[in-house]
Symmetry: C2
Subunit: 205 residues, 2 copies
């Protein structure tokens, strides 16, 4: 159950794992300004990490799925908000002796860095269709359900929009268009069947 998805974070066997915490959908895990330091590993559910802008807009930096570790900060203070997309269980990871673990942590931080760069590419060099396509491929890969051709989306259209730098309406329209083109089927709003993976790939940068 804890096994990481294909390119998810490594296992962190050297970290002492603390107690498990549970959250309901929408619960705050941490907020901007909080004292940083703690790392979390997702046991169940999905976490979103985001920034809030003065005018209320939101940029979701990452979704974290089971097995993945999040909570890195450059300084002593949080610069992001994190909350539960759905019902979430987390394991607390508290670094024991700094030195011996930093090597493990470095690997994890670099994984996060790679993700961030991939995300930047998605947002910077794709039109709306390309971004949604990239998003579906990313989620599918991380759910390890590429073989099953069915993806479930734990997050709302608004979450997807805020992740991709689009509006909710545009995301909705792209889903509709993909359905009309026969690329996907929408079993329900939160459940996508992919009929043509290759066409999704062709849409991404």
């Amino acid at each position: 159950m804890f096994d990481a998805a294909p390119h998810a974070a490594s296992r962190m066997d050297t970290l002492l794992s603390g107690p498990a915490l549970t959250f309901s959908a929408g619960d705050e895990i941490y907020a901007e300004g909080d004292r940083a330091g703690t790392l979390y590993q997702v046991a169940v559910g999905v976490v979103r990490v985001y920034r809030l802008l003065a005018d209320g807009r939101r940029q979701i930096c990452a979704f974290h799925m089971p097995g993945e570790i999040f909570g890195f900060e450059a300084g002593t203070e949080r610069h992001f908000f994190a909350d539960a997309v759905n019902t979430v269980a987390l394991k607390l990871l508290r670094p024991g002796s700094e030195a011996e673990l930093s090597q493990e942590l470095l690997k994890l931080a670099l994984t996060s860095l790679t993700r961030a760069h991939d995300h930047l590419l998605t947002v910077g060099r794709n039109d709306a269709s390309g971004r949604v396509a990239a998003f579906l491929l990313e989620i599918a890969e991380r759910q390890g359900t590429r073989d099953v051709d069915s993806i479930d989306l734990p997050m709302s259209r608004l979450d997807i929009a805020d992740y991709l730098g689009l509006t909710i309406e545009t995301v909705s329209r792209v889903f509709t268009r993909l359905r009309e083109q026969g690329v996907i089927r929408l079993a329900s709003t939160r459940h996508v069947d992919v009929l043509h993976w290759d066409q999704l790939e062709d849409m991404t940068a």
Copy 2:
């Protein structure tokens, strides 16, 4: 000369610094697929790190200025290209004993991660004007020239466009508009005088 800009990377006094390498504008520093592992510190000039897409488009992930360290990779292989924007001198940093340094490296990696997230915010939640404004503020801050009100841009309009996820024409038009609005003055194409920092800030997310 080596002193880092305000929020630039830390000094890395514990890393062994190797010989200095020099590059002319446009020279490749490393390419996608190269063996990773080496880190570099910029002594002179500016480096761009980017990805190339199948159709030839380019997403610049970062510009690195004097004092900054770059070259982190999650795996053993490079996923990016790096080349010299102008005349560049680099110091090679070769980690000696893995364990004792990873703590230093972790800090640097987290700095890169923060930068990547800032960049994502810029690209994901700003219109063209906002992106260019954010870009100018970022460069000014990293050049430490905020007090002088003058910025020089070592990179071309195309570089800026590829960094911000825009076209060269749009970048050019934004510069023109900022000039017409009296926010900046263009001493030359590569030299910007900022007349109203506050107005630049108001344009960013």
